[in-house]
């Protein structure tokens, strides 16, 4: 076993880089200005490795590995932007767009949406898979916030922030596969939730317009993420 003080050297996209043993490929890439698309990952929360956007190729491994949870190893050779990866990423973003009803032009998060930005980042000009157009609920029962399942991409950031940071665990996932939905409590209306503290952390970490503050119209919802690294830093007792 290596000690956490060890420093590793590795190659990402041909560049020689160094890393602390507890750093992930994504950490190192970010430190060095190498852009790897992400979605479910958010600094300050655990990473489920679920959106599969940050998959990278590692020489010697026949599997693609999620950069957000794969630790740096000595001598690793990582490729983040092969044609194959770029192609897979574009398709994954397309699948996200087909899953629910993402009508950017009338969305509260238009212009401030991570999915929208991601689409642009991967060069998406259209979605070649057919759209599902599912019928989804909008839950406006909460006093201050709205949950619009038309815009949800099931990144589970809300579930994790509520559990890991707020400690309320109001949100969780219900159902399986394409029928999966985030729910409050035991699928109660958000406004009836006994565990919700109305702290709004879920709203601020939500990458799309799925969770928003009431009273915001099209393109008016700006998410404030700064609280999360701040809270984590204060809790861990760092400076």
């Amino acid at each position: 076993m290596t000690q956490s003080g060890d420093v590793k050297t590795l190659k990402i996209d041909g560049r020689d880089l160094s890393a602390r043993a507890d750093e992930t490929i994504l950490d190192i890439a970010r430190e060095n200005g190498i852009s790897i698309p992400t979605m479910c990952e958010l600094e300050g929360l655990s990473s489920p490795g679920a959106c599969r956007l940050c998959l990278v190729e590692v020489k010697g491994s026949n599997k693609l590995l999620p950069a957000c949870i794969t630790r740096a190893e000595e001598g690793m050779e990582v490729t983040t932007n092969s044609e194959r990866l770029v192609n897979y990423r574009r398709m994954i973003v397309e699948l996200l767009f087909t899953e629910r009803n993402h009508v950017c032009s009338v969305c509260v998060s238009n212009g401030n949406c991570e999915l929208q930005a991601l689409g642009q980042q991967v060069g998406l000009t259209h979605v070649h898979f057919p759209y599902r157009f599912p019928k989804e609920e909008v839950d406006a029962s909460q006093d201050r916030f709205i949950a619009d399942h038309n815009r949800c991409i099931l990144c589970t950031r809300c579930v994790r922030v509520c559990d890991e940071i707020e400690g309320a665990h109001t949100w969780d996932v219900m159902g399986r596969g394409i029928e999966s939905h985030v729910v409050t409590d035991l699928h109660d209306a958000w406004g009836d939730s006994a565990s919700c503290t109305s702290c709004g952390k879920c709203v601020q970490v939500c990458p799309t317009g799925a969770l928003s503050e009431k009273g915001r119209s099209v393109a008016e919802m700006h998410k404030r993420r700064q609280f999360l690294p701040y809270l984590t830093m204060m809790r861990e007792g760092h400076e």
Binding site: G49, L55, Y88, M91, E99, R132
Partner: protein
């Protein structure tokens, strides 16, 4: 409990059997019970009492030939007389059966078995159909728990692992990972509270090997887990069984209670310092919970979804501790290996796939049921010699192995000898052992759609490629089977197969395109007939004007 006591139990059980001239075994596995074999057993007991013959009517587990249930096996215990098997036995046949004991077998009830047992070799199933699954004494009489005592008293944990490694046993749950290597990893991993888990969350359509083993011979699985726990240094164990197997759960519960009472599990097992206890955990029927990390999450009380590996459960598993997780059939192989030695085991099978494999043979085949064959036997032997081939004069088309993660193997590959590697090279996989035979009346696109429907509804929904990709693939297959598919759809289907296979989080997602890929590989002409000629060659699919598509 020690070796001498074990010997005493065995001889007492044998003495008990010697009191009878005949033993009449009635299969009371799920298959035969659904045909009221409990009524058959009751009327046989009554008939035996009425006749005054010295005859013991016994409840047993599965006899293999589920198609001919209820099955009855007549064993003249200590004579050289051949066993007699009856199929489709009705409770009204009881008196006739009892009367015939010692005389000519009843031709009318002969289940036409020729060839069924020839070619089979029973290791895992050696006791199935011969012992009462809830009677520990009968298991002990058939050499049960001998291997445990041998391991605990004559072998070090390292020697046990070396023996398993030398046997060449590979995981029977589907992946075929070398069992000895897995044990070795867990044994060497750092952890205060290691754990052993038995994966009995059998969920493949058409697969019932694990259910049958648990129903027919639960102590064999418990003994395998005990030996594994001793080898890797674990103190607690879980058997994860799906709740849809109530009989297996009932028999396991009874077996665990009995084993605990006799000192095979608990503290100071078999008068050694070895402690180990086993609990049962019921799965709520999610297919994905058969995936090891999802299964562990489920035992922990979390939502049953997989997490990325590494770290593998062998290093970080249940509650973050090193965890050994093997399938039911893998554990069922352990006791015989320790008892008879690695060399005996590795003398069966092929170069890289040793031992035997249990298959659940179903579909368009004459003799549906459970078969256990040595690795290396050909698919043709299993389907035609043992299974009796396709009924009603129909033509064989394909055999599907590996469940929703596997693929369809066509006629020209039937002489392929069964091994982990050969099945993968043919575009399928061993899987847990489901084997579904299809004839010319099956449309391969429809079959692919069936499995994709399964994968779509059983996707846990955690990762995007599997959650949405399986939906899109299913949508396309639905379009093709309703004659609404286009060449564009087919290209998109191939593109999605590639995406889902290479980017999904867990093994189930990664293998979910296999039924499509294998049918595209061998039966692309059927896809093209639907798309280009709007015709289903097997006559299964009907054109539906799909209003939603323009």
């Amino acid at each position: 409990m020690n070796g001498e006591e074990l010997q005493r139990i065995a001889s007492a059980a044998l003495d008990e059997r010697k009191k009878f001239d005949y033993e009449v075994n009635v299969c009371m596995g799920t298959g035969c019970l659904s045909q009221h074999s409990d009524h058959v057993r009751d009327s046989l007991t009554k008939a035996a009492e009425a006749s005054g013959k010295s005859c013991h009517v016994r409840r047993t587990g599965c006899m293999g030939l589920c198609a001919a249930g209820p099955m009855v096996l007549i064993e003249p215990p200590l004579t050289e007389q051949a066993e007699v098997r009856y199929g489709h036995v009705h409770e009204s046949d009881a008196t006739e059966i009892v009367d015939s004991l010692g005389g000519e077998p009843i031709a009318r009830l002969n289940p036409q078995l020729e060839g069924y047992f020839k070619g089979q070799h029973h290791v895992v199933l050696e006791n199935s159909g011969h012992i009462d699954p809830e009677k520990l004494d009968e298991y002990v009489e058939h050499d049960g728990y001998k291997a445990l005592i041998r391991a605990l008293t004559e072998m070090t944990p390292r020697q046990v692992i070396a023996e398993i490694a030398a046997s060449g046993l590979r995981g029977r749950g589907g992946g075929g990972y070398p069992t000895g290597l897995k044990w070795d990893t867990v044994a060497k991993a750092n952890g205060a509270q290691k754990c052993v888990i038995c994966n009995g969350d059998e969920g493949d359509p058409g697969a019932f090997m694990d259910r049958s083993v648990l129903e027919s011979d639960p102590h064999r699985v418990i003994e395998g887990m005990l030996i594994a726990a001793y080898a890797v240094g674990a103190q607690e164990g879980y058997i994860y069984v799906r709740a849809e197997y109530p009989l297996a759960v009932q028999r396991l519960t009874a077996a665990l209670r009995e084993a605990r009472r006799r000192g095979f599990i608990g503290k100071g097992i078999c008068e050694t310092t070895f402690n180990f206890d086993i609990d049962i955990r019921l799965g709520a029927g999610a297919f994905v919970c058969g995936e090891e990390t999802a299964l562990i999450a489920s035992i922990e009380g979390q939502r049953g979804t997989p997490r990325p590996r590494p770290p593998y459960p062998a290093v970080r598993g249940l509650w973050g501790e090193p965890t050994l997780i093997n399938n039911v059939e893998t554990y069922a192989n352990i006791a015989p290996i320790i008892r008879k030695g690695a060399q005996w085991f590795s003398s069966m099978g092929t170069e890289r796939s040793k031992g035997t494999k249990v298959f659940a043979l179903t579909g368009k085949v004459r003799r549906t049921g459970l078969v256990e064959v040595p690795m290396g036997i050909t698919l043709r032997q299993v389907v035609f010699d043992i299974g009796g081939g396709v009924p009603d004069g129909k033509k064989f088309k394909a055999v599907q192995t590996g469940g929703p993660s596997g693929g369809c193997i066509p006629e020209e590959y039937l002489d392929l000898s069964i091994s982990y590697d050969a099945l993968i090279s043919a575009g399928s996989m061993m899987g847990s052992g489901g084997m579904i035979v299809m004839d010319e009346t099956s449309c391969m696109v429809d079959v692919a759609k069936y499995f994709m429907d399964f994968c779509m509804t059983e996707s846990c929904g955690k990762c995007v490629p599997c959650r949405v990709g399986t939906y899109q693939m299913h949508r396309i297959l639905n379009a093709i089977t309703t004659m609404n598919g286009t060449a564009k759809d087919l290209a998109m289907l191939e593109e999605l197969c590639d995406l889902v296979k290479h980017t999904s989080l867990c093994g189930l997602g990664q293998s979910s395109p296999n039924p499509v890929l294998s049918t595209l590989r061998y039966f692309k002409h059927e896809y093209l007939a639907h798309i280009e000629e709007h015709r289903c060659p097997a006559g299964v699919c009907k054109a539906i004007a799909e209003g939603e598509r323009v």
